[in-house]
Every structure is written in C-alpha cells, then in structure tokens.
C-alpha cells in the first residue's frame, strides 16, 4: 500500500503534506502556502541562489546538510529529509555563527541574496573540510549571486564562521536527528494523487518499472534541476511526475579496479570524489559543474538522460569510453554512451524506458586524460565549448585517441576524423600536429549563439587539442592553465 503523503522533518517535528499539485515547488510551498517569506525568489531557475535552503539527510549514520535551490526543487523531493530554512537558524534565539559573522563582516547590503548565502554557508559550516580555504568558500558560494558587496566581506564571514568545528543547535542535537530521519525513510512507495495526475516516488525498481510502463507519459524527475525550469519558465502542464529519488539501489556507486558504475540517481555531489579519482581533470569539471546547489540535487543519470548538447559530463564520459544501461519493464540493454545522443534533444530512449546506470572504465597506465571547460565565467556557467581527450600512448606516440566535445554540435559528439589523424603522431614533434589540428575543423560545424560565435568555438576546439597534446607531452599544466592546474590538484590529494 503506497503512502499518500510526503513526510519531512522541520524544527524538531515531523511534517506530513498530502494532496499537493505534483509540480508544486518547495519555494512556492514555503512562500505561498506557509507564508514563510525569509527564503527569496531571485530568478526561479536555480542560478542565483537567493532561494537556497538546506536539506539534511542521513548518510553513513550521520546527518549531512546540503544546500539546494528551492525554486526548482519539487516539494515532493524533500520526502525523508530535514528541511532547514533561514528562519530556522536563530529561531528567535541568538544568531547562528554564520549569521553573526555576516553581520560583523558587513556581508549584506541590500540583503536580498543574504538568506540564500546564509544557507549556503550553513551547509559549509557542517560539510566543509577544516580548516576551510578561500577556494572552498568560493566553491560553496558559486551558486549564490550577490550584486552589491563584491563578495569580499561574505568570503571573510565564511572564513571566520567556518574556521573551527561546528557547535550550534544543529550539531548538538545531531544523534536524535539521525534517528528521526532514518525512521522517516521507510520502504513504501509514495503516491499522491491530484486531479488529473500524481506525484509518485517509488521505493523500488520493480515499482518504478511497473509504474512507468503504465504511465509512459509521466515525467521522470531525479534532481529536477532541468525539469524545474520547464515548470517555472516554460509553465509546462506537468500532471504526472515520477521522482526517482527514493528508488532503492539507483543511487549505488560501485567502484572496482576496472570500472566505476554510477546509478542513475547518484548526484553530482556524490559522484564528485569517485570521478575525481579517475582523473583530476574530471574532478575539476565536476567542481565547475553548475553550483554546489545544483550538484546536490542534479544527478549523473538525469544530466545524461535529458540530452543537453553541452552537458559537461557527457563529453568527458564519452571520451573515457563510458557505457549506458537502460531499462524498460524487465528488459535492460547497454549501449556506448555516445550512441544515446541521436540529435538535438533527441535520445535513444523508448517510451517507458529509463536510464539505469552508467559505467565508466578506469584509466590504464598508458591512457592520458585531459578535459577543459571554456565559458564566459569560470564558475556556474554553461560551456561555450567543453572538450575531453583520452590519448592511449605507445611510448611517446599516440596509439589511440578518443575525443568528445560539448557545445560544438546538437549533441555531445566525438571527433572521429581527428581521432584517426592523431594515431601514430609523436608527442615530441609538435610540427607534425598540424593535420590533426586541421581535422578538428572538419569534425565540427559549431553554431553561433549568445554564448559564443562559431568562429570562436572552432578556434577554441583547435587550441584545446593543441593544449591537450602539449600538456600530455610535457606532463605540465602550469604554463597552459589559469584554473585547474593538475599539479595543484594532485598536490591537494
């Protein structure tokens, strides 16, 4: 028997909500239904962070708080979590350490972004490594826009508040919280009927497969970081929504010596460290993927399934030779990831079929990986071009190459001619690279848009290939990169 309400924890109480419209966002629930207006709407597309709230979930026995954008998160997605909003931190008592540091550092001017910034810092207060670094603060704030302060006082406040071990009302009460939250996470399917549709959160793959086979017109949602915009901006009339977040096993990460397998609902945040372990460049791509909020909600499977032509993760995984497993009813099939992307926003996915997991081969000793994200702004930006390269070396020669780009075509796409041209080239003879550099101009016919011109993308693609070859030849990146220098990333490990 399915549960017909979601349950979450807030201010020490279990809250049950039922009968809501499936596409109700968490922000609308807070602001319009609860009239709790501390959480702000700045953009309604998950880009400015003014609506940031924290969700606490139990992982490995203790509660972890992650910041999420309430504007594009569905209310149903907070099932089983603890919800913390800006009103909850002081709750009439003394200010939370991140709040008092923000006041003392003059970290607010107009104050509209401030609740979201406070909540991002609240999460950093728990989750950040100690001592917290300026870089960690920048990463924690990449999804929070402030137009007044220039950020300096906010960064100072973060360094001040997150300097020591957490000691606040939330940390003191932790053990009880973990138990309460664990108790909320039953193995029941959630099914909330509403007029023409429903919000469903199946608890098992069997339930999911059956439900989706029956309602192949339903919208599958994992993190909702893209579907959320269909709702807030596209005003899509979504009536049937199946959230994958409670499906047991879909969030599994399996890591053996040969390959890494990521279940469809593994979030970018959860995948971060295992992907970074494959190669530092992959970790750097993940660090710059969306924002902390987007990585906390968005999933690897969702990023692939929705077929973004840029989708920073897809080109990187294609270059690594990843495979994709899909399931419909009881049938599963596995395809090379690049075959999944057929045309702009068209994927090889049958009605009722869903992305189950992706498998990424580990790099062998003679395989060298490089990936580059080029965008107008380093953090929280969609790439103008995203290039990933895997060179298999035989001595100082290229024995095999896999190259994939995002932003250069209607889908993430391999550079087939360039790959062939590269075979046999010597890393030590840059003068012989010209043919390969020319080939990449034939592999892609990029387009002009508001992010970049076709001419820029073409030049950048060629220059990134040159960069990848030079860096592979020298083993150095200091002279070729502004951010993500591998020497620094490797030293940090």
């Amino acid at each position: 028997m399915a549960r017909d309400a979601i349950r979450f924890w807030r201010q020490g109480q279990v809250v049950e909500v039922s009968g809501f419209h499936p596409r109700t966002t968490l922000l609308d629930y807070l602001r319009l239904q609860k009239r709790q207006v501390g959480t702000k709407e700045g953009c309604a597309e998950g880009d400015c962070g003014a609506c940031t709230v924290a969700l606490g979930r139990v992982r490995e026995g203790s509660v972890h708080y992650e910041p999420v954008n309430a504007c594009i998160l569905l209310l149903g997605q907070i099932d089983g979590a603890e919800l913390v909003t800006v009103e909850d931190l002081a709750a009439g008592g003394p200010l939370h350490p991140v709040q008092s540091a923000m006041v003392a550092s003059h970290g607010s001017q107009c104050g509209f972004c401030t609740p979201g910034i406070v909540m991002s810092l609240f999460s950093l207060y728990y989750e950040g490594e100690r001592p917290v670094t300026r870089e960690a603060v920048n990463d924690a704030l990449a999804g929070n826009l402030c137009r007044c302060t220039g950020y300096r006082p906010i960064v100072d406040a973060a360094l001040e508040a997150c300097g020591g071990q957490p000691s606040d009302a939330f940390s003191i009460d932790h053990p009880g919280r973990a138990q309460s939250l664990t108790a909320l996470n039953d193995a029941q399917d959630v099914f909330i009927r509403h007029e023409k549709g429903f919000f469903a959160a199946p608890a098992s793959e069997a339930s999911l497969a059956a439900l989706y086979a029956e309602h192949s017109d339903a919208t599958l949602v994992a993190g909702c970081t893209d579907v959320g915009l269909w709702i807030t901006k596209g005003m899509a009339e979504l009536e049937k929504i199946i959230w994958l977040g409670r499906v047991a096993g879909l969030d599994r990460i399996e890591d053996n010596a040969e390959a890494l397998t990521l279940g469809a609902t593994v979030t970018h945040a959860q995948a971060f460290s295992t992907l970074a372990a494959i190669d530092p460049d992959l970790g750097e791509i993940m660090r710059r993927f969306g924002s902390t909020q987007v990585r906390a909600s968005g999933t690897v499977g969702g990023n692939i399934a929705n077929g973004s032509p840029i989708g920073d993760l897809a080109p990187a995984l294609i270059a690594l030779g990843a495979g994709l497993e899909l399931r419909r009813g009881d049938e599963t099939r596995t395809i090379p990831l690049e075959n999944f992307f057929i045309a702009y926003r068209r994927q090889d996915r049958a009605p009722g079929e869903y992305v189950r997991r992706v498998t990424v081969p580990e790099l062998k000793a003679n395989e060298h990986f490089r990936a580059y994200k080029v965008s107008k702004r380093f953090d929280e930006d969609i790439s103008a071009a995203m290039g990933a390269f895997k060179f298999t070396l035989g001595g100082r020669h290229i024995a095999d190459a896999r190259i994939a780009f995002g932003g250069m075509a209607g889908t993430p796409k391999r550079a087939s001619e360039t790959e062939q041209t590269l075979v046999g080239l010597s890393l030590d003879e840059p003068a012989t690279w010209g043919e390969a550099l020319a080939a990449i101009g034939r592999d892609y016919q990029p387009m002009d848009d508001h992010r970049a011109s076709a001419a820029y993308r073409a030049t950048v693609a060629r220059n990134l290939l040159f960069k990848a070859l030079s860096e592979t030849a020298s083993g150095q990146t200091r002279a070729t990169r502004i951010v993500g220098q591998r020497e620094a990333l490797e030293a940090a490990e």
């Binding site: 207006v37 501390g38 702000k40 700045g42 953009c43 309604a44 597309e45 003014a50 909003t85 009103e87 709040q99 008092s100 923000m102 006041v103 003059h106 607010s108 001017q109 107009c110 104050g111 509209f112 972004c113 401030t114 609740p115 300026r134 920048n138 990463d139 704030l141 990449a142 826009l145 137009r147 007044c148 302060t149 220039g150 950020y151 300096r152 006082p153 960064v155 100072d156 901006k233 580059y372 080029v374 107008k376 702004r377 380093f378 953090d379 930006d381 969609i382 103008a384 011109s453 001419a455 820029y456 030049t459 950048v460 040159f466 960069k467 002279a479 070729t480 990169r481 502004i482 951010v483």
Partner: protein, 779 residues
C-alpha cells in the same frame, strides 16, 4: 584577502564624534541574515489580493492590428484584463517626454513591450492566461544596432555637443594623430530583487502603493497622471529595495502604475512581481555606446586636441537618456587636460527596451573611452600607459574641463595616483610582468593603473534638493524619515548617524522609517550618488532646528545662556545641571515646545546652462584610482584578475565600513560590465541573454584573492555633511583598470600593434584580439 581600509581613513585631526566616521553595520544586517527584512513580495497580502501578469509583443517594430483577448478573459482565475482602453486618464508613464505608454495602443516599439495585463486570483493563473492572447502585429524591420539607427537617422532626443577651441585644427596640426571606433557594451542591473509593486485601494479613489523604487515621488506622480487623480490621493511607500543600481529610478514606475490601475478597476489589492526573464526583457539597461574618436598628440603623448562622438543606443524612448548621455559627455575628459576638444553625441533610437540609469549614469562610458585612448597613445608612443596618463593630468593652470568648470583639486588627483603607484608597487610589478611574459608563450599577464574623477550633483539642477522629517517623542525616541530610499547602499544608517550625532544620543534611539511620499513630499530620486549628501543635510537641518528649540527651553528653564547647553552621551548638560535626553524631551512637551521639524536642503554653488554649455554642473568631484593585474590564456581568452589595489576618495567618511562596501561592490560590478556581462540581441530584437543562466555577473571566485582597498585621507573642501564625499557611483569606474590590464596583457603578444578590443572583454573578444595581434582571424 588584505584590507587596510581604516589605516588611511583614520589619519587626520582628532574629532569628538560619537557616531560619525564609525564603521557601524548596516541597520538591517541582523534582519537580512534571518530572512526577517521585509521586501514588497514579503508583505503579508491583504485578503483578496489579486496578481498581475503582462502580455507582451512578439515583434520589435510595427503596428498592432488585432488583439483578441477572449480566451484570456475566460481562463481559470482571471478577474480582469486591462488594456490601454482601461486607462482613465493618460497612457503615459514616461519620466518627462511623454513617449512611454503603459500599454501599446497601435505602435509597437520593441519586442516584449506590454500590451495588456491579466489580473487573476493567483500569479500562476495570471501568467498562464497571458499565453492565450491572439495578437497580430504588422511587423517592420527593426533598428537594433547603432548602425541601424544611424542609417534611419532616428533619435530620441536632439544631438548635443560642447567643447573648446578648434579641436579639428589642433588634431590636424599635431605631430601624431590617432583615431578609432570603440564599442562599449550595455549592462543589465540584475538587482537580486526583481521589479515589484503592491497597490491597495482606499476610499475616495485613494491608493497606497508599495513600490520597489528609487523614486517614490515619481511613482506617486505618474500613478496620479495615469489614473487622473491629484497627487495627494496617492501615497508611495518604500522601506527597502533588494538592489536598485539605477534600474529602479524611472523604470519601477510601470509596475506600480499597472498595480494601481488594476486596484482601481477591481477595487481589490493588486500585486505585480515580474518574473526574472520578463524583468530582463522589459526593463532598460546601461546604454551601449559606439565612441568615434580622434586625438592629436605631441611627442610625449600629450593631448593637443581630442574629438569624440558618443553614439548612444537609447532604445525606443527618451527615458533618462538625455541626462545619461550628457554625463557621458561630462566625463569624456576623465582626469585629463584637453587644450582643444569637441564632445559630440547622438541619442539614437532603436527598437529595443528603453535604456536607463545605471550606476555612473553614462559617466563610465565617457570615461572608458578616454582611458582606451590613453592606452592607444601609450602603444603609439611606446611610453608606459601610466606615464602617458601623468603627462595628461589636469594641473594648476591647465584645469578647465571641456564644459568650462574648474577642476580645483588637481593635487588630490595627482597625490592619490602617486600614492597608489607606490603602494601597489606598480613599477616593480611592471618589470616582473614583462619578464614573465618574455618566457610564457601562452599565458600573458597585464597591468594597468587608471584614475577616476567623477562629478557629484544631478546635472538637472532642480533635483539637487532633499527633505527630511524628524520627530522627537516625549519618551525621547526619535522618528527619522527622509526622501532618500534604501537600496542596500547604507543610506538609512548614515542619515541615522547624522541625527543621533546631532542629538548626542545612542543610535538605538533613532527609529529609521520607510520612505513615503506622505511624510516628505516632492523628493528627488535616490540617484547620482547624492543620497547622503542631500538627505544627510536635510535631516541635520531638521534635527538641529528641534535641538535649537530644546536648547532654548533648557537654557531658560535653568537660567543659563544657550551656549552652556550641550547634548552628549544621551544627556543634556545645562550649565551645572544635567538631565537625560528623555527627560528634556518630556519637559519640552509639557512646556508646549514643538519637537517636530521638516528639514530642507539644496546644494549650493551649482549652476548649469545647457543651452550655452556654461556654468558649474557639479558641486565637487570625487576621485579614485585602481591598479589591476590580470592573467590571460591566449589560447582561449579566459582570464583572471589576480590582484587589485584601490585607493579612493570619500572625503572624510561618514561610515568607512559602508563606504568600503560601496567601493568594493562598485568595482566588482564594473568588472562584470567590462568582462563577462554581455547583452546579446537577436536580429529580430529579441534579448537572448535574459536570465542569469545566460547573462553572467561576477561570482565569488572572480574577486581577486589579493584585494587591497584603502580610503584616501582628504576632507571635502566643500561644506558637505561632515566633509564627506559621495561614494555610490564613482567606484564603478575603478574597474576600467581591469579592462586596461586585459588589453595590456594582449598587447604583449605584439607590442608594435594596437589591441583591437572592445568592451566587454569576454573570453571570445580577448581571443579575437589575440588572434588579430598574431595576424589571424578567429575561426
């Protein structure tokens, strides 16, 4: 991050001040961090409040030939649909020129122009219903670019020029002549709180409008104009904005008027909050410019003659473009003496949203153009760009601006730049960067030190006035109100500091209250950096009048002379007696002494005759300088600001913490304008960068890890409030140093060539410039 802000600020003579010059935190800080500061969308809505969404044009230019709203009217939740036909009086929301309709009647001027408004029980219903309209527009080819407008010869206001001498002849006879076209992009304000208004109808046609506006008086006046009622029937109230930056100066009006009209038609409270994408599409931006320039120089790079034509893309209507482009002209000289000069301008009409005020109000564009010319001179002469700037600075005797005003503080300008040159270690770093670049083929570093001289006062002289209302209650608490609005800049705390200082009382006794046209009438917009100069003075006038009456009463009551009465430490010292301030307040009330006063202030000395281009448009100038160092990846154009050193002149600061906040925030906002913030319009006039996903303002990691900001110790020579200087806008232009540093880095690829780089210097623009210096095209 290093901040030595207060070290320089605290220099100077000792003053016995309790609140002034203290780095007090923003008065709303504790509320901000708890989500307890109320913005308009947070006000608990009265029962039955309706919500508004707008129906927009899908073409940029043409005629509306048919409009079928029947499906809209019958959509779920819809209570009313408003068009131009529902306007009781004038369909005109313009600040001055009558060229901004509330709703399109027939002529369509830009893509996204409002045609109708849906009023519904929920915001979601209203938004969905707008999509059901059937609208037919006979479209014409729109003017989108400066060139389109030039070809059609369409302007929103007449051309204007001023200058001195025969610039053409001076340039022609100079040993070296340079010329070019320099493009400067616009900028979206991206205040975090989008445009919003809530209108509540009262009796007899009264309406109370809560508006996120920098200009409550204009909202009041335009609501009255459109509804056909006297101003006195309209009250506009603004407690705070979630950012303004000029974007809510004239362009908050439309939403407030729409809400008021809906409230009139339905008899119910009505709210209009724009979706962020609509906010981008429907509100004007910083003007983008093409600056056509010519300069004649001597062998040392000294300007002999300068000609510049500012071609400003104003959008479809005049809005504030007159003042904006004038201010660009007023800053065409920045800090430099021009013996012969001609500054021309065209206010071009394009079929795009009407561009408007944005922090700096045209000044940044005029100033960036001459800074670009300074770099061009340096490249042509082979001199260090800073030395070229020194060679051209205003000096005593060569200190008259192109508009005839004397630059009195040439020593401030010179001293400030020299100090920064030293504290930023400019010369040693210049050498170090040259050495780095010589051995780094891909990564190139660049350095630039640029000055700012910014004129303070509204150039429309009548706006340089302000009012304040102060009440002292019988318990000694003080009610403070003034015409300035709070958009985050800290105006309210600064003015409260002035009043608390005047009465010698603790800050906690001064209650800051929301700006409202019912308390202080006929106000100017909070703009032109003038907020604390004007309102601080007005509040002091009011407080000192009350204090004078309290003093007279106390002197008489205790039989001492008035000069023996002193207000300090929450007490009043009367000869040998002392009593708490609260007690004197009570005694005054019992003795029938008035403890309420409306203060008024107008800026002295300023005169400006635009027709003859003579006079003194500015009370004074504010100065600053910044030194920026960048690194550029010449394979991708990606770049990073590595270090910024700023020295800025705020006179003697009212509140150094607030002032530092304005300087840092302005610098970063300016950096965004000149680097990552790119507005892209399609050929059809559609704005393609309409949300933060596509329009990129700076984030935390864009701010340099090494950021050194200091205040230059320099009392204002003019009698401003506690000898402070305005600080809102000038710091934007400190970011010119970032742009110039980026061009410097690119220049190292081939020092024999000028750098063809326009603003904003996006990675693409930088890579294009790099390729040009390598003798190649992109692609």
């Amino acid at each position: 991050m290093k901040i030595d802000a207060l070290t320089l600020a605290s220099a100077g003579e000792v003053e016995s001040l309790r609140h002034i010059r203290q780095p007090l935190p923003h008065d709303s800080g504790p509320k901000h961090v708890q989500g307890a500061a109320q913005y308009i969308d947070d006000i608990r809505e009265p029962d039955g409040t309706l919500h508004i969404a707008l129906g927009l044009t899908s073409k940029a230019r043409g005629r509306l030939v048919s409009l079928d709203l029947s499906a809209v009217r019958t959509a779920p939740g819809v209570v009313a649909v408003l068009t131009a036909a529902d306007i009781p009086a004038k369909n005109d929301i313009s600040p001055a020129f009558g060229d901004d309709p509330l709703f399109v009647e027939t002529q369509v001027d830009f893509l996204g122009q409002a045609v109708f408004a849906v009023v519904a029980t929920e915001r979601d219903s209203a938004r969905r219903a707008t999509r059901l309209a059937k609208m037919e527009i006979e479209a014409e080819a729109p003017s989108i670019t400066v060139e389109d407008a030039l070809a059609r010869g369409e302007t929103v206001l007449p051309d204007y020029a001023f200058g001195r001498g025969d610039a053409k002849a001076a340039i022609a006879s100079s040993p070296c002549r340079l010329e070019g076209q320099f493009r400067i992009g616009g900028q979206e304000h991206f205040y975090l709180e989008g445009q919003v208004a809530l209108a509540i109808p009262g009796e007899d046609g009264d309406v109370h409008v809560y508006s996120s506006t920098q200009h409550p008086t204009e909202v009041q006046h335009v609501v009255a104009r459109v509804l056909g009622i006297p101003d006195a029937y309209v009250t506009c109230e603004t407690r705070r904005m979630g950012g303004g930056f000029g974007g809510k100066e004239s362009q908050a009006t439309q939403w407030a008027v729409t809400a008021a009209l809906a409230a009139r038609v339905t008899g119910r409270p009505c709210k209009l909050r724009l979706d962020r994408d609509d906010d981008f599409v429907l509100t004007g931006k910083r003007h983008d410019f093409r600056c056509d320039w010519q300069v004649g120089i001597d062998g040392e790079g000294r300007i002999q003659g300068y000609e510049v034509e500012h071609l400003a893309r104003c959008g479809y209507s005049a809005d504030l473009s007159g003042g904006v482009v004038d201010r660009a002209m007023f800053h065409s000289d920045n800090a430099y003496w021009m013996p012969a000069v001609h500054v021309g301008s065209k206010r071009l009409k394009t079929n795009t949203v009407s561009n408007t005020a944005f922090r700096g109000f045209g000044g940044p564009q005029g100033m960036l153009a001459i800074e670009h010319v300074m770099d061009q001179i340096a490249w042509a002469t082979g001199r260090d760009p800073l030395d070229v700037r020194y060679a051209n600075f205003y000096t005593p005797g060569q200190n008259i601006t192109p508009f005839g005003m004397e630059v009195e503080e040439t020593d401030t300008l010179f001293g400030l730049v020299q100090t920064l040159e030293r504290t930023s270690d400019y010369r040693a770093r210049r050498a170090e960067i040259a050495a780095f670049n010589a051995t780094s083929p891909i990564m190139k570093r660049g350095l630039a030190l640029t000055p700012v001289k910014f004129g303070i006062s509204f150039t429309l002289t009548q706006l340089n006035q302000a009012g304040a209302l102060v009440h002292v209650y019988q318990d000694g608490s003080v009610h403070l109100n003034h015409g300035g609005t709070e958009m985050g800049q800290g105006l309210y705390i600064k003015v409260a500091q002035v009043v608390a200082e005047e009465f010698g009382i603790a800050m906690e006794r001064v209650r800051i209250t929301a700006t409202t046209t019912a308390k202080v009438p006929n106000t100017s917009p909070t703009a032109a950096s003038s907020g604390s100069d004007l309102n601080g003075m007005a509040a002091r006038v009011a407080a000192s009048a009350i204090k004078a009456r309290m003093t007279a009463f106390a002197a008489e009551a205790y039989g001492v002379s008035e000069d023996q009465v002193e207000f300090r430490d929450d007490h009043v010292f009367v000869g040998n007696h002392s009593l708490p301030f609260t007690e004197l307040a009570k005694k005054c009330v019992l003795a029938r002494v008035s403890l309420s006063e409306a203060g008024h202030y107008k800026t002295p000395k300023i005169t400006w005759d635009r027709a003859t281009a003579t006079g003194r448009p500015f009370f004074y100038f504010a100065y600053g300088a910044a030194c920026s160092e960048v690194i550029v990846d010449t394979l991708t154009g990606e770049n990073r600001l590595l270090r910024a050193d700023i020295l800025h002149d705020v006179g003697k600061s009212l509140n150094p913490a607030i002032d530092i906040g304005q300087i840092e925030g302005g610098f970063v906002q300016g950096m965004g304008w000149l680097t990552t913030e790119e507005l892209v319009f399609g050929k059809d006039g559609r704005l393609l960068t309409h949300a933060p996903s596509t329009y990129k303002i700076p984030v935390a990691s864009d701010v340099p890890a090494d950021f050194r900001v200091a205040l230059y110790p320099n009392a204002n020579r003019e009698e401003t409030i506690y000898r402070s200087k305005a600080v809102g806008e000038p710091p934007i232009m400190l970011a010119n140093s970032v742009f110039c540093a980026l061009t410097d880095a690119v220049h190292s690829l081939d020092p024999t060539k000028p750098v063809p780089l326009d603003a904003p210097a996006t990675p693409e623009a930088i890579l294009r410039a790099c390729e040009a210096l390598r003798g190649r095209l992109l692609g």
